[in-house]
Amino acid sequence: MSEIVLEGRNIVREYHVGGGLFGKAKTVQAVKGVNFTVEKGKTLAIVGESGCGKSTLGRILTLIDPQTSGELLIDGKPINIAKDKVTTEMRRKVQIIFQNPYGSLNPRQKIGEVLGEPLLLNTKKTAAERRELAMQMLVKVGLGPEHYNRYPHMFSGGQRQRIAIARALMLSPSLLVLDEPVSALDLSVQAQVLNLLADLQDEFNLTYVFISHDLSVVRYIADDVMVMYYGEVVEYGTRDEVFSNPQHSYTKTLFAATPKSDVESIRARIAKKKAAA
């Protein structure tokens, strides 16, 4: 069996809400005891609707938020950022890419600075080295060295997402959390970015945690699939298991809601419409 990069054991995350002058404070469990393991070089997809806790889990994995209870192991080492300080070494291992490339890049920073900043903060590399590495990374994600001195507004959505990917890869992480990386993008641009992610995974043997609500994308990219519903995992298995034989009623609802674009379903829909008219 290959090496396990990421493991979660009974992870719980609670948020305390309210407690105003008269209101009583409430506790909301956003993630209710989640277990999972991801092997090196594989992709785990987390699927669910908005508010199901998938992004909260993503933030825990990226060491942005601490878990309330449960164990998180990265490369076999337990981490709890509520107790321990996050070392730069830990930071280098996990990186995140957000959904909206328009919001996740600072409009006043040139692309070169965007890419150089992770190195500036987490390593002791000189300015010349940072520049060199940023140039190389631009080429790797399908942009060019000429983009180094440009600002984010000069790029299209797909190009910006490439920049966000480049920034995440600057520290050569082993684990990449992708929070809906293609849902803000057009179909053909989405295909390009998915291809890029697949290429990079092959090249650097990256491990992905892919958060999405789009099942057709998940079917394309994932090895394992975890379906979440109101903070709980309702289905967890390999892609083929989940897609060929969904067990939970929520998973079935999700499949039913996904638009079908095969000729048979279109024919069925038209026939139904004719019958109704």
Binding site: E49, D186, L187, H213, L215, Y220, T258, R267
Partner: protein, 285 residues
Amino acid sequence: MSKLLEIKNLSVGFDTSNGMFMAVQGIDLSVEAREVLAIVGESGSGKSVAMLAVMGLLPKSATVTADSMTFDGHDMLTMTSKRRREIIGRDVAMIFQEPMASLNPCFTVGFQLEEVLRVHMKLDKKARRARAIELFKQVGIPTPEERLNSYPHQMSGGQCQRVMIAIAIACNPKLLIADEPTTALDVTIQKQILDLLVRLQAEHGMGLIMITHDMGVVAETADRVIVQYKGTKMEEADVLTLFEAPKSPYTRALLSALPENATGDRLSTVADFMKNEAANAGAAS
């Protein structure tokens, strides 16, 4: 069947510092009553701009030219803006992509819905309230009496989109234009909204134009499809023909970029298609 909206040779240009930019170049388009037409294209293909031109919602920097543009027998080109405002919102209504952004955060959703009824239908206060409740029921908002007093921020994205649809159908429009109505929503909510739109379209006998980049949405809703690329029409066909035997290579490229149509371990992209086109053109000349 009678043509509800008929546009011949529509072009829209924008005056920019680098000269004229043509967003739409000579598009013919028609919608019949009771028909669902989908306009598909990537961002920048001019699909929204063409519809905004019909609605007269483009900024001053845009130049709209067309041989003819008629809606339900009215000539939209020579119409005064006063007359146009009477038609828009009543006979033609539009739904936009971001429901949160298209509602005014300062007013209750009930006020915004009743405003349409006041302006276009000249209903009195009581009749407006009754109609508003009826509309909220139609679009499937639970406890409409209470929800009318909510502000947009108190509702979810899907609920807001339902409010937008209620506002759009308030005056029983003949034509509804939906510009990416579900792009900002989850799949399960998307399904509900699409079902709602199709149901209302059938019930009211409206014409419906769906602007989208999602081939899945097209497959689920459309009767007829126009594929647009860089401001020109690439293909027009009924939905079954389009998916079964797409004629234009661009349509084929779009379809093969769908993740569910992936063959091998990489998706084919439209950029590959453009490269092949260029190579073929080079070989031919």
